[in-house]
Symmetry: C2
C-alpha cells in the first residue's frame, strides 16, 4: 500500500454488484463508472468476472473492460476467476490482480461451483502454477478469497478452525493476498475479531482483506472490529450493490461511500474524496435505477463543517 | 441491571421517534406498542415527553400513557422532561425514570430550548431538588442526557473536554444515569472510544448509556466501540424511527431490532426475543405506514440455524 493512505478501499460493485442485476450495464457505462471512481481516488477496482458469458451475460465484455481499465494510470485492476479456465483468460490479459474464491462452507462451495471445498482449494495451487508458467509472477497478484467464512445460509455458524485451516492452505499455496468474506451478512464484531485473529496467525506477511456484507446492519461494526485486528484492506460496493445469487437472503455489500466516511472520520486516510465519490452514484443509477442504490451518507450528506482526515492531519 | 441480561436495550421510539411524526398515534396504539415490546422482553421504554401539548400534540396524552404503562408489571417507564415544569408533571405521577437533556453544543442548546447551556445544566440541579422534595428519591431515577456530544449540525466537532466537563457537572449534581447522545449521527468508533473513556473517568459508579443515531451508517459500529469501553445501556428505536426537529439532516435512531441482533450475535444477552420484537413493527406501521420503518434484520430475517445468546450459553 502506498504511504499516503492508511486503508485501501477496493470497489467491488462492478463485479459483486452487477452479478446480481438483470439489467446489463453497457461497456461504456462500466468504463465511465471505473473512470469516475478512479478520479475520486479509488485505487483498486474489481472490474469483471471471467465466468462464461452464457452463465452471466453481464460479464460478456470482461476482456474489453479489463483491457480498457488497465490503460487507466494509477488503477489496480482486479478480476474474479471462478476457476482455472477463468484465470487463464485473466492471465492472457496480464491483469494486475486475479481473485479466486473458495467457500469455507462445504455445502455452499458445492452449491456455488459444484466442487468439493478441498478440490477448490487444490485448484488454487494450479492457478498459481499457471500464473507462474505464464511468466506473470510478480506482475499478476493472486488474491485468494474465503467466502462464507463468518456464516453460511446452509450450514449456519462456521467453525473458526475451518477458516484458519483454509487460510493456512492458501498462504502456503502462494496467495499474494487473502480475503475473508462474510458472504451472507451473519457476522458480528466479536466473531470478526475471533476469526481474523485466527487467520492472521497463519498468514504471516501476506495482506489480509475483509469483505463484508451489510445484510443485517452489522457491516460497518464488523469493519471497525477488523480495523482493531489490524486489517487495512476492505471491499465495498458503491451504493451497496451486490449479494450472492446462491446464498438465499443475502443482500448488498457494505456501501463504499459509508465505509469511506467512517474511515475518514476515524482519521484513517483512504485517498478518496467523499463528495466526488458520492457523485459517482449517478452512473450506476442511470442504468440500474436510483432505487437499487442504498447508502446513509448519500441520504444524509456530509456533516456540516466536516474536515477530512487529511485536513485534520495537516492542520 | 438484573443478572439475567448483559446489556439493557431501552426503546425510545415512542418518544424520539414520535416527536418527529406528523401523524398522531392514538393512546391505544401507543399502549399496544408498549405492551408488545414488553412481551418481547424489552424492560425499559421511554413512553412520552412532558412537553406542552401545543408544541408537540403527539404527547398530549403523556399523563395517560405514563400512568397506564406504569401499571404493566416488569416495565421501567421513562419519560422526557424538557424542563423543571415537565419534570414536575412526571413527578406527580411518580414515573420510574425521568430524563432531562442538555446539549453540549451551546448553539444547539439555544436553538433547542432557548437557554444557555450552563442555565440548562443548572436546571438539572433544580430538578434533582424537586424530585427529592417530592419524596421520590430512590423511587424516581433521574437520567441526565448530553446531546450533540459527538458532533453538532451548527458547531461541527465538539471538544471531548466539553463533554467531560458537562458529564462531571451532572454526576456531581446527582444524576442516577448519564446518557451520551450522538444526536445528529456524526460519530465514528474512534471518537466514541475517546468520548466515552473521558466521560467514564468522571462518572464513577453512575451507569452511562449511549444514544446513537444511524444517520450516516455508523450507528452499530459506534455501539460496538461503546461496548469495548464497557457501556451496557443503549437507546434504540423500533424501525429506526426518530431524529431531531432542530438538527438539520438528522435521521433516525439506531434500529432496536438490528441492535438486539448484533448484541445477541455477540453473545450478549438482552432478554429480548428477536422474532417477537420484529413482529412489534406492525403496530407503529399501522399508524405511520410501513415505509416509515427501516431495519436490516426486518428485511433479511434471522440467519438460518440461528442460535440465540441464551441458547449458546446453556448449550
Amino acid at each position: 500500500m502506498s504511504s499516503d493512505i492508511d486503508v485501501l478501499v477496493r470497489e467491488v460493485g462492478l463485479r459483486d454488484g452487477l452479478q446480481n442485476t438483470e439489467t446489463i450495464v453497457p461497456t461504456e457505462g462500466k468504463l465511465a463508472w471505473i473512470e469516475a471512481e478512479l478520479a475520486a481516488g479509488v485505487r483498486e477496482i474489481e472490474v469483471a468476472s471471467f465466468v462464461p458469458a452464457r452463465l452471466m451475460p453481464q460479464f460478456a465484455d470482461a476482456e474489453e473492460v479489463v483491457t480498457r481499465a488497465m490503460a487507466l494510470p494509477g488503477l489496480t485492476v482486479m478480476a474474479l476467476a471462478p476457476n482455472l479456465k477463468g484465470a487463464e483468460r485473466a492471465f492472457a490479459l496480464g491483469v494486475h490482480k486475479v481473485d479466486y474464491v473458495t467457500s469455507v462452507s462445504r455445502t455452499h462451495n458445492i452449491k456455488n461451483v459444484r466442487r468439493e471445498r478441498e478440490a477448490s482449494l487444490e485448484d488454487f495451487k494450479r492457478i498459481v502454477q499457471a500464473r507462474d508458467a505464464a511468466g506473470l509472477k510478480g506482475r499478476t497478484q493472486l488474491a485468494a478469497g474465503l467466502s462464507t467464512a463468518l456464516g453460511c445460509s446452509y450450514e449456519g455458524r462456521i467453525a473458526v478452525d475451518e477458516v484458519r485451516q483454509c487460510a493456512a492452505f492458501l498462504a502456503e499455496a502462494g496467495a499474494d493476498e487473502i480475503m475473508i468474506a462474510d458472504t451472507v451478512g451473519y457476522a458480528d464484531p466479536r466473531q470478526v475479531r475471533e476469526v481474523f485473529k485466527a487467520v492472521l496467525a497463519e498468514t504471516g506477511d501476506i495482506p489480509v482483506a475483509a469483505h463484508f456484507h451489510d445484510t443485517r446492519g452489522t457491516g460497518l461494526a464488523n469493519v471497525s472490529a477488523a480495523l482493531d485486528c489490524g486489517i487495512r484492506r476492505f471491499d465495498a460496493s458503491l451504493g451497496g450493490l451486490g449479494g450472492c445469487p446462491y446464498a438465499p437472503g443475502a443482500s448488498g455489500n457494505i456501501v463504499t461511500e459509508d465505509l469511506c466516511f467512517m474511515l475518514d472520520s476515524m482519521g484513517l486516510r483512504t485517498g478518496i474524496d467523499l463528495q466526488r465519490l458520492l457523485a459517482v452514484r449517478d452512473i450506476p443509477a442511470r442504468y440500474l435505477g436510483a432505487d437499487s442504490l442504498s447508502g446513509a451518507l448519500a441520504r444524509a450528506g456530509l456533516p456540516r463543517h466536516y474536515r477530512t482526515a487529511t485536513e485534520r492531519a495537516t492542520a
